[in-house]
């Protein structure tokens, strides 16, 4: 009986050794893969897709109107140290639409002066820094700050941001106020009606890793070709 017990114990010890060895190797592998993934994520450019920019312009008489565009491009690369991003988000101001042609003309030509000099036809947000979000998993609600270039003037802006996982990427929604006078934009007035000095910018986009974006673009081109 004792012999049987000793044999059993030896077999169990052997199995335990085997299990420990396997577990150690697995843990090492998991750690290595995770570490590689984090490094890869930090270095991978994220592209804004399905972008939408809405600018809410309050009127002096009350009420407001929206100017919007989907022409959002750029690239953001996550920094490994903390949730800040290199790169920039760029909006094509020539595509901003307020729903009324005359208002579009005035906005682009008189106030944004898109033809005045190179760079006036875009608005650029760069040096984006996230706050209140976990450095390891930037998800949830927090705030951001960034450098905003508009009408030839650069200012720091900031506001709330919400990031949610969406497929292989992240759905990002951020908003921030812009004081027109800070950017040397005259306060719009026309025939007794005016826009107040502070407008609210809301940016929504799906941040997808560059490869996924390219694949999506290829798929889109394929679908378009098939449709033709």
């Amino acid at each position: 009986m004792t012999f049987l017990l000793l044999r059993a114990t030896e077999a169990q010890r052997h199995r335990a050794k085997k299990f420990l060895l396997c577990a150690s190797v697995s843990l090492w592998l998991v750690s290595a893969i995770a570490g590689f993934a984090l490094v890869a994520a930090a270095g991978t450019p994220w592209l804004p897709t399905q972008g939408r920019v809405r600018v809410t312009c309050p009127l002096t008489i009350g009420g407001s109107f929206e100017a919007k565009t989907t022409a959002l491009r750029g690239s953001l690369t996550a920094s490994a140290s903390h949730p800040s991003y290199d790169g920039s988000l760029v909006v094509d101001l020539r595509t901003i639409d307020t729903g009324i042609r005359l208002r579009n003309d005035h906005l682009r030509e008189k106030y944004l002066e898109v033809d005045k000099a190179p760079g006036y036809d875009t608005a650029t947000l760069s040096e984006i820094d996230l706050k209140g979000l976990s450095p390891d998993a930037p998800k949830g609600k927090g705030t951001f700050s960034g450098s905003f270039m508009l009408h030839g003037t650069r200012k720091t802006v900031g506001g709330p941001v919400e990031i949610r996982e969406a497929g292989a990427g992240f759905l990002v929604k951020a908003s921030f106020p812009v004081n027109l006078s800070d950017y040397n934009i005259p306060v719009p007035r026309y025939l007794g009606l005016g826009v107040k000095n502070t407008v609210q910018v809301e940016v929504t986009f799906l941040a997808a890793p560059e490869q996924a974006s390219q694949l999506r673009s290829l798929r889109f081109v394929g679908q378009a070709t098939a449709t033709r």
Partner: protein
């Protein structure tokens, strides 16, 4: 026959709007089908407010009109908008330069800018609305050509102050004096008031104006206007205080009574107050809550209304408004009715709007039948200041089981 019909309808309308005593006269003198078409024939007040322009992201009347409750003379911006963005032929026309404060010349201006800057800060407008009306009812039909509006309106706006007034002609068989309908045309000033608004949006006005309540549909015969006493001649003499707070607008009115009662029939004069709150949820979605209280007069019982409205523009050429109101008193008998009006407007082509409007008023006791309406309208704005409207109303009086059809053709010139 036409004159008789019109007289009867005037009486019918008066009866409906002023209570049980007049209803007795109505029941004794006119047939039931007439009750179903009341409110259609009589003249509209001044120029239409157009809630359909929510699709263009205009949630406030004062973007285009001097009056905070809409309608009437257009501001320079409103005129410009009617020129460049609303009329079929104005899309590529030259507009005043960005930053301009006034535009006394050009197609959008008074008389197409013929007077230039001669009027200084005074803005003038002329309202003309020649119309043709045809009503079909069981056993016959009646038609009539008439001028709904012929008014001259003036406004001056300076440093937050606005002075506004109109003078014009009220059509024959329309004006009421001491309870009687005048057979001839009469002088009328639908609105005259003075107002002030601070840059922060706190304002007041005093004088004669239509109280702020619900949505001021351009069709004055919409159930939410006709049956809530917001129809022609329902302006009050009073004071209105308003405050714009971010996306909200609050308007409160106090009045010793309806203007026509104060001027011509003291027996119908009674204190009234109204409040309206508007919240612009987005530039294309608006929520409105309203309440109205009218104290009893010598001839009318105490009455009140409370309601809500919601409008949204799901696309840049579509606006959908729905208003529901409880009229908490209809008659001395203590009846209660519900009024629900929907208006869906679609810009089918630049300057061509199609409207569809189902409406309902529930029964409110003896003499107040349940009414249902389907209204269709085509609004064509070919050139600045010109609006051709064709409306068709299918009205069904559920209580008496009578159906009528009304066709209204209007040429609206707002020069």
């Amino acid at each position: 026959m036409i004159a008789t019909t019109h007289n009867s309808l005037s009486r019918a309308t008066e009866a409906r709007r002023h209570g049980a005593r007049s209803l007795t006269i109505l029941r004794d003198s006119v047939s039931p089908w007439l009750v179903a078409v009341i409110g259609v024939l009589l003249p509209i007040s001044t120029a239409s407010a157009e809630p359909m322009f929510l699709a263009k992201q205009y949630t406030r009347c004062t973007a285009c009109h001097y009056s905070p409750t809409g309608g009437g003379l257009l501001t320079p911006y409103g005129r410009l908008l009617s020129h460049r963005e609303l009329s079929t032929g104005g899309g590529t026309a030259t507009a005043p330069a960005a930053g301009e404060e006034d535009a006394p010349r050009g197609e959008q201006a008074f008389l197409y800018g013929a007077l230039g800057s001669a009027l200084g800060p005074v803005h003038l407008g002329v309202e003309l609305r020649p119309s043709h009306l045809r009503i079909g009812f069981p056993g016959g039909s009646a038609s009539k050509d008439f001028v709904m509006n012929a008014d001259l309106i003036a406004a001056v706006q300076k440093k937050g102050w606005t002075a506004y007034g109109s003078v014009g002609r009220e059509p024959a068989n329309s004006a009421i004096r001491e309870g009687r309908t005048l057979p001839d045309a009469a002088f009328i000033s639908y609105e005259h008031w003075i107002g002030y608004e601070t840059e922060d949006g706190l304002g007041f006005r005093a004088g004669r104006f239509l109280p702020a309540y619900g949505i001021r549909f351009s069709d004055h015969s919409a159930y939410s206007r006709t049956y809530l006493d917001l129809d022609r001649n329902d302006q009050v003499y009073g004071v209105e205080v308003s405050d714009t707070m971010g996306p909200s607008l609050l308007q409160v009115m106090l009045s010793p009574g309806k203007a026509e009662a104060v001027l011509h029939d003291n027996r119908r004069r009674g204190f009234s107050t109204a409040g309206r709150w508007q919240l612009d949820v987005t530039p294309r979605a608006t929520l409105v809550g309203s309440a109205f209280y009218r104290h009893a007069t010598d001839l009318d019982p105490k009455s009140g209304a409370v309601g809500g409205a919601f409008g949204f523009a799901p696309a840049t050429r579509v606006t959908i408004w729905t208003e529901a109101d409880a009229n908490v008193q209809v008659a001395a008998r203590g009846g209660r009715t519900w009024v629900v009006v929907n208006e869906t407007s679609v810009e089918a082509y630049r300057g061509l709007w199609l409207k569809f409007s189902p409406q309902l008023r529930t029964a409110g006791g003896p003499g107040f039948p349940e009414l249902r309406r389907l209204a269709f309208e085509v609004d064509f704005l070919p050139r600045t200041h010109w609006n051709l409207g064709l409306s068709y109303y299918h009205d069904h009086n559920q209580t008496f089981d009578v159906t009528t059809s009304t066709l209204l053709l209007q040429l609206h010139a707002y020069l």
